[in-house]
Symmetry: C2
Subunit: 336 residues, 2 copies
């Protein structure tokens, strides 16, 4: 069953295509009777206007690009980002926008923008290594929102989470439990969010008069396996009673490493994660972690982008406050 064209619908309804176009676009200068007749024909034929033809006239695709840098391969395997993506698609759908997944080995992002396949862009996990790309994207004048703070680009509106605050909450909780030797497994500092978490960690230590010890802090690409390996290394070389892991995914690996070494969580080592991915509450022990409100973040970012595209609001950044979720993976420091 082929889709008809506006001319064919016009002919079937005995009107001009201008009139059909009017009902398609809900104009009101049209007789109710005529509108009904046309709507009837449209329904009978399951007619839908061709999107490319509309795009070329309206200069709008009603499509949002979801840009995931190819190097950020952890994005498409981390449940945290899937909540973000779900938030994005839900919000887009509610506003009749489409979502184009841009994850390209060929780095074809600029091409996609220049071909005008999308009206706006959501930047996922942009870090210092993507500054050149960001610069080029800015030159195209396409509306965009970054879901991560980008160093030195105050021109790009951002919907982000206050990671400095999140880290402070996590580490403060550990210190309140009596811990003083707190290890850290962090993601790459090329991402501002991860750099902020280290700053938060240091700030809390300092305010409690605990010296910062570099050897307790490891930085790794995000993956369950790297969480495992990093914790193994820490256990072999350092002494500590708690660890702050930059994301729940790595915490899963880290906890396994602790178990492998014959220690227990939280009896011997307390663990605080970050993200609060859906499975965190169902691990054993259930993970104490920092909730980033991923889904909400996705929706908010999309709202902000749509507002920007439709000119209904200024370019403005937004920061979400993370919250500590206390569960079973943290406990008071064991007595020596």
């Amino acid at each position: 069953m082929k889709n008809l064209t506006i001319s064919q619908i016009a002919e079937l309804a005995g009107v001009s295509k201008t009139t059909v176009s009017r009902v398609l676009n809900n104009k009101d200068d049209i007789k109710g009777e005529t509108r009904e007749r046309i709507l009837q024909v449209i329904r009978e034929n399951n007619y839908r206007p061709n999107s490319a033809a509309r795009t070329i006239n309206n200069r709008s695709t009603r499509t949002i690009g979801l840009l995931i840098p190819y190097q950020a391969d952890y994005v498409l395997s981390n449940p945290f980002y899937y909540d973000v993506i779900r938030g994005i698609t839900v919000e887009a759908d509610l506003n009749d926008y489409y979502t184009l997944l841009m994850y390209s080995q060929k780095d074809s992002y600029l091409k996609t923008v220049r071909e005008k396949r999308i009206d706006g862009l959501l930047l996922i996990s942009f870090g210092t290594q993507h500054i050149k790309l960001l610069q080029e994207l800015l030159e195209t004048d396409i509306p965009m929102i970054s879901l991560a703070k980008v160093p030195g680009f105050s021109t790009v509106p951002t919907v982000s989470v206050d990671d400095f605050d999140g880290a402070k909450k996590a580490v403060s909780h550990l210190i309140e439990q009596g811990h003083r030797d707190i290890a850290v497994i962090n993601g790459p500092q090329t991402l501002v969010g991860h750099a902020e978490r280290i700053k938060g960690y240091r700030a809390v230590l300092e305010s409690h008069g605990i010296p910062y010890r570099e050897e307790l802090v490891l930085e790794r690409e995000i993956s369950v396996e790297n969480g495992h390996l990093a914790m193994k290394k820490l256990l072999g070389e350092q002494t500590f009673t708690a660890a702050f892991i930059c994301c729940d995914l790595m915490a899963i690996g880290a906890i396994e490493a602790i178990r492998d070494s014959g220690l227990r969580v939280p009896e011997d080592i307390s663990i605080v994660g970050y993200d609060n991915i859906p499975m965190s509450g169902h691990l054993s022990p259930a993970l104490t972690t920092v909730d980033q409100f991923a889904y909400k973040k996705g929706r908010r970012a999309t709202q902000a982008l749509i507002a920007q595209m439709e000119g209904t609001s200024m370019r403005r950044s937004l920061e979400i406050k993370p919250e500590l979720v206390i569960r079973g993976s943290t406990a008071r420091r064991p007595r020596e």
Copy 2:
């Protein structure tokens, strides 16, 4: 920096737009010198042809729709599907196709197809409840591939996994370890794949003369939490030494329930999962599971769809053979 149009490029190069169009489409009836001059102008201006204008002429969007039924919300929270999606976008990108994420609360899938926003469709997790939608999609004549077998629709080419075989491998392994009382936590039978797994389970039991006991088999929506709850229920009501869990995500919850009840995996209860999600190897104990080759499945399905769209191959279905991955969550049946 606004994008120019083909006419402006033509003018700058001192040729007609027909000629520019020729170089854009790599036609060969053009003087090398002219081509070079035009390419130079194109490069200087970062020119890219408007995709909507091209689409309207070529009747091709170079976009693949990734259809996730809104009810199938577990798709966007199951790492198994993440690998599938990654495979799809990678393969699409390699072939210069775009990926449109179709996850709509408004059930706007048909609208999207009729508006001709996509050239082909990849159906994720279609079950009996989506037969009406599938029927309507078929009427639009759009090329499509389902990544799950759909009951009674041999007309839809499918790239799937032989779940009957996968379940057989999983359950056979348990039986070889001496287990006879094998519980099952399965996903909804509305999905053919899950129905097949039960069949495989029954087939193996039968071939070993073990009677099928309905009360050992639970069916739940896929989630970590449901895995936990289902296992808790089983532990409270039944006696068994092993369990086959239809997916790793639920196995994570199930293992936690076993631990909560004071039993050990695999010493007291052996667990076989299904999917082999990336974290399965990093849990404690590492999960014995059935690898579905999710990434490969995504790539193959996309290849098949592209072949169908470009008419380079017949509509043909493909079945991937799953493999058992033996790790630490299974052991010999404990002596009574």
